[in-house]
Chain length 261, copies 2
């Protein structure tokens, strides 16, 4: 089966107009699809209203037991249900999932890691072990679109774990590919694609291959937060995903294609 996995980040999901634009594009995509969403800004806002301080280290959220409750409420509740409600209003039967639902995404708690000479414990943060592609496919075959929050599940601890949404999307796409599907993975954000000049929205690099990515990185054309995103994309290609798009939420498919040579 052809399946498109679309990942959409916080900045788009949390702005009502952008979210509606994205969901319009998403609904008009032909064929089977899965949506993976973030929601970090809302989590930070709700945490702050509850008097809980957000600590980020290298762009990753330190997730205490209290913060896990916040991200469960925000990713698994508020943001997820806003998306599913909007899709339902458009006539699309969607269902929101965390890793615990149908035991769809199993993970283990990340052990403390050394960062800048110090051991950092990120708390309830999960590294994904497996995605149950069969459960997702069975929903899709019933005509239901899975909408996935960035929360994985630790079966030993019986707890959700906070997981990066880009990583979640990559793992879902890879598992669906390994199960024999033809998978495209789309990373949606506010820019038109991977830009060769960050200040010029029209400098979209049309095509990147694993080989050209090495040069682009060495020349410094691709840098910052775009590097791990493309690394995720290359990993997805290696595990059988057909192509990865990095594009605007207003233009699916479009933007930059990342594919094998």
């Amino acid at each position: 089966m052809k399946i498109t996995v679309v990942k959409v980040g916080g900045a788009v999901v949390e702005d009502p107009l952008s979210l509606e634009e994205l969901l319009g594009e998403f609904c008009s995509l032909p064929g089977a699809k899965v949506l993976v969403h973030g929601g970090g800004r809302t989590a930070t806002k709700v945490a702050s209203s509850l008097g809980i301080t957000t600590e980020m280290i290298e762009g990753r959220r330190v997730t205490s037991a209290q913060m896990l409750e916040v991200v469960t409420m925000v990713y698994g509740g508020l943001v997820a249900k806003k998306i599913v409600s909007s899709l339902a209003k458009r006539g699309m039967k969607a269902i929101s999932l965390t890793g615990a639902d149908m035991c769809a995404v199993k993970a283990h708690r990340r052990p403390p890691v050394e960062i800048a000479g110090k051991m950092v414990d990120f708390g309830f943060v999960g590294d994904i072990d497996s995605v149950d592609a069969d459960s997702l496919v069975s929903l899709i075959k019933e005509g239901t679109v899975p909408v996935m929050a960035p929360l994985s599940f630790d079966p030993q601890g019986g707890t959700l774990l906070n997981t990066n949404a880009d990583t979640m999307a990559g793992a879902v796409a890879s598992a669906l590919a390994k199960a024999g599907n033809e998978v495209s993975l789309v990373y949606c954000f506010e820019k038109k694609g991977v830009l060769s000049d960050p200040d010029d929205e029209d400098s979209v690099i049309k095509r990147i291959t694993p080989a050209s990515f090495v040069s682009l990185k060495q020349e410094g054309v691709v840098s910052g937060g775009m590097v791990p995103k493309i690394q995720n994309a290359v990993l997805a290609l290696e595990s059988g995903v057909k192509k990865v798009l990095v594009t605007s939420h207003k233009d699916i498919p479009g933007g930059t294609v990342i594919e094998r040579d």
Copy 2:
């Protein structure tokens, strides 16, 4: 298909020990099952932490736009995922749903009602129009247990609506019965059943019929919050549900049986 619909209220769900006792009983029930949960106390607590005042009129929550966000986070996120995670840890594949997920429970916003001579607008509160039994049955046939939050969906407004959990459980059970299933409905709470003496836990009335309910009400044996619960039960019987149990979360099946003569 034989299906047991179990409704469990806030007091049980929100106490960690009681919740584990309930989920143990739930897992050991044979055959197909659905869980419908509440979560009102946690919603009130989270609302309060966010500086939002809870207003209850005749035991029902007035649901402003802000309060709708709170109940979406708490019922659809926090409470639902705690239940699903605990079931998953026990090896049960469960999935948490609101009315918007799979468009499972459609409703309309309740118009203002007159209470004690004053018009009261309950806000984002829903009266259920329909439950999509087919979607629930298709999940059950895949070996997945639906776990349902007391949130229905308004397809016109594209919004969730707050809905009483007892009513939700009754509507789900009725829809499954009308679709040709043999349905038992279980209302779980802290007491052992419907008591003839509220101060004596051992005064459980073993069996109530629609006819005996009329006498029990007239004699004042059944009163207070138990009356609408049994009224819901009688309505469920009228729409084809085979029997209704009112029992302790530690004893399913047990307690009081409500069934036709």
